[in-house]
């Protein structure tokens, strides 16, 4: 259900996910028909509790699913109008779609600068262009420039998150799938990182699809949001509309409400499978 109509989309969608179903290990059904769109140059948030399917959604777009023995069994995913279901992560990064994994995943034995340079692995546009990108990343994250020669394994959580985002930027992406950037970070650092994400979005026009548990922060910076519960989209809408929605306030923002209702499951049964698409 959509809380507020977004109106007719003015910009074309960079990513369109149509009613996908994801199964891990041939038996575990994780996504039960998820559809979502990311408009060109937008910041879209996927919200939900642990195990709702946020990470799986991102992984099925970036195609990192296969490494986890997952498989998209139904539905389709397009990036810039092209079906990407069977592309490898390498081919996707070359096309400009890159994922920043949950839990940062920096290369611990490499220095910060080496970490950033690995992000440029797929680029073929020469040293000068890569050096320019490096300077651009350092401009967004001055902290990384200070720590450029230290091993990533010995830097703080916030620095590692910056490093992971910076590393993704080094690939010159148009679409970044950002998985839980707030995980395990102090609120101040989270705010700082979200500010930088907004900055990158505004200056370079990079689109972001954000998976977050920190609903408050995500809705502050995103333009549009989807709420996932046990593998289904239960609610979506403009970020401002979601923020004001009574149910969202109660379940995810922790304000208002009595307390006996904990999730959308207790309220009513939403069906958001677009059967006409499958």
């Amino acid at each position: 259900m959509t809380v507020a109509t977004a109106g007719t989309p003015t910009k074309p969608n960079i990513v369109e996910v149509n009613n996908i179903e994801v199964i891990y290990d041939h038996v575990i059904l994780v996504l039960k028909g998820v559809s979502l769109n990311v408009p060109q140059g937008g910041i879209v948030a996927i919200l939900g509790a642990n195990g709702a399917g946020k990470t799986t959604t991102l992984r099925s777009i970036s195609n990192l699913l296969k490494a986890e023995r997952g498989e998209v069994t139904k539905g389709s995913i397009t990036f810039k109008g092209e079906r990407i279901d069977s592309l490898t992560p390498n081919e996707l990064v070359k096309r400009g779609c890159i994922q920043v994994m949950e839990g940062r995943h920096c290369f611990g034995h490499l220095t910060i600068e080496e970490n950033l340079l690995t992000g440029a692995f797929t680029r073929r546009d020469g040293r000068a262009a890569i050096a320019a990108s490096l300077e651009r990343v350092y401009a967004y994250f001055p902290r990384l420039k200070e720590r450029r020669t230290s091993q990533a394994g010995y830097t703080s959580g916030g620095e590692q998150q910056m490093c992971a985002i910076g590393r993704a930027l080094m690939a010159n992406p148009t679409m970044v799938l950002l998985d839980e950037p707030s995980m395990g970070l102090a609120p101040q650092i989270v705010e700082q990182i979200f500010e930088i994400v907004k900055d990158i979005n505004a200056k370079d026009g990079v689109s972001f699809l954000l998976a977050e548990q920190n609903t408050n922060m995500a809705l502050k910076y995103a333009t549009y949001g989807y709420i996932l519960e046990s593998g289904r989209v239960v609610l979506d809408g403009e970020a401002s509309a979601l923020r004001d929605n009574a149910d969202v306030k109660e379940f995810y923002l922790g304000t208002g409400g009595g307390g006996e209702r904990r999730s959308f499951r207790d309220v009513k049964h939403y069906k958001r499978r677009k059967r006409w698409l499958a």
């Binding site: 994922q99 994994m101 995943h105 690995t118 992000g119 692995f121 690939a171």
Partner: protein, 364 residues
């Protein structure tokens, strides 16, 4: 022969010191652990003390054995290096490393024989033969990556290990079928010896030229590998994959390509080992047992460490030669054949991750 009288008091001293250390630390280790550690410390102290006393008796002879041992240890290091490269980058314990040395050696020696048989001058034939065997190793890497490893992506380490045992048999069989199964002498390096320091020690020190060449080549190889890993884009990607497969994949590094490169590099290391061993013993089937000697080297040095492979090889090489000569007088010969394994066992008791290995932390 003042060796034992020097070593025994030293050993008793080491036992006392070890006991005191353990007691003062108040560690909650088991009694058995403590006894084992102290006993090991005592045996090591006696052995080292004995060696020291013998070295004082005849410094020239000692130096000769030590240098010879270190230089032959370089070869163990080379084989161990191939293991470490693959283990680090893909978590695969590659049992086939010894077979790869055999394949490389056979390809080299047989193509060289063929070319010289055609009357090609050595200066042309040797580079051609090296190129050819390099190509054979590349083919090996390609085939193993495509048909052995890729279908087993994300499988358990033990599964991958078993598959490399299978690859070993295939490689050994194929190599002998294609290139023949005899003993083929390889003459790339001089095999005579230098006599050094005649003024300093009576009789001087005998140093095998081949061993020196081997050491030199190994040093060049290690420096080249270090530079490759440190300063090239592919080297950086290799290290990234070794650190975190999933993250490497997420930034678009193609894992299968990286694995191919790793196996190719291991193949080239095998080729280098084969040239030196082949010159020493002739290229023959028994070269695969080299892989078995690399195992204690890896246990001593640590499975994930390049410096560990080198230091481990040197320790094993020097240790077994010294033990053979000096301990052999007391308890009989043949020590060379088991010394490395006993040393590895001792290291496993005290420091299971090896000298340079990363401490394995398993969350239960």
């Amino acid at each position: 022969m003042s060796g034992l009288s020097f070593a025994i008091p030293g050993g008793i001293g080491a036992v006392l010191a070890g006991l005191m250390f353990v007691l003062l630390r108040g560690d909650r280790r088991s009694v058995v652990d403590t006894i084992v550690h102290v006993a090991l410390a005592a045996v090591t102290a006696v052995f080292l003390g004995y060696l020291a006393s013998r070295a004082i008796d005849n410094p020239g002879g000692f130096l000769e054995i030590l240098v010879g041992g270190l230089l032959s240890g370089v070869l163990y290091s080379l084989v161990a290096l191939g293991f470490v490269l693959i283990f680090k980058a893909s978590g695969v314990f590659n049992y086939a490393q010894g077979a790869m040395v055999l394949v490389a050696g056979l390809a080299l020696v047989r193509s060289l024989d063929y070319l010289t048989g055609l009357g090609v001058a050595n200066i042309v034939a040797i580079p051609l033969a090296i190129l050819f065997s390099g190509a054979v190793m590349a083919l090996c890497a390609f085939v193993i990556e495509k048909w052995v490893l890729r279908p087993l992506l994300n499988q358990d380490g033990l599964t991958l290990f078993m598959s490399t045992i299978g690859a070993t048999f295939v490689l050994e069989g194929l190599a002998q079928m294609v290139f023949g199964s005899g003993v083929y002498p390889l003459r790339l390096f001089p095999t005579d010896a230098w006599i050094l320091g005649e003024g300093m020690f009576p009789g001087g020190i005998l140093v095998n030229k081949l061993d020196v060449w081997g050491g030199l080549i190994a040093a060049i190889l290690v420096v080249a590998l270090a530079a490759f890993f440190q300063y090239t884009k592919t080297g950086r990607a290799l290290r990234a994959v070794a650190d975190d497969h999933a993250a490497a994949q997420s930034v678009g590094i193609p894992i299968s390509w990286i694995w191919f490169i790793v196996w190719l590099v291991a193949g080239i290391v095998a080729l280098v080992a084969a040239t030196v061993w082949g010159t020493k013993l002739g290229v023959q089937f028994s070269i695969v047992f080299l892989a078995l000697k690399a195992l204690p080297v890896l246990i001593i040095g640590g499975f994930t460490s390049v410096p560990g492979a080198i230091v481990g090889g040197l320790i094993v090489g020097a240790g077994e030669k010294l033990a053979e000569i000096y301990l052999g007088e007391l308890i009989g010969g043949g020590i060379e054949y088991w010394f490395a394994y006993v040393l590895a066992l001792a290291v496993l008791l005290v420091r299971p991750q090896g000298l340079y290995g990363e401490k394995i932390i398993e969350r239960i």
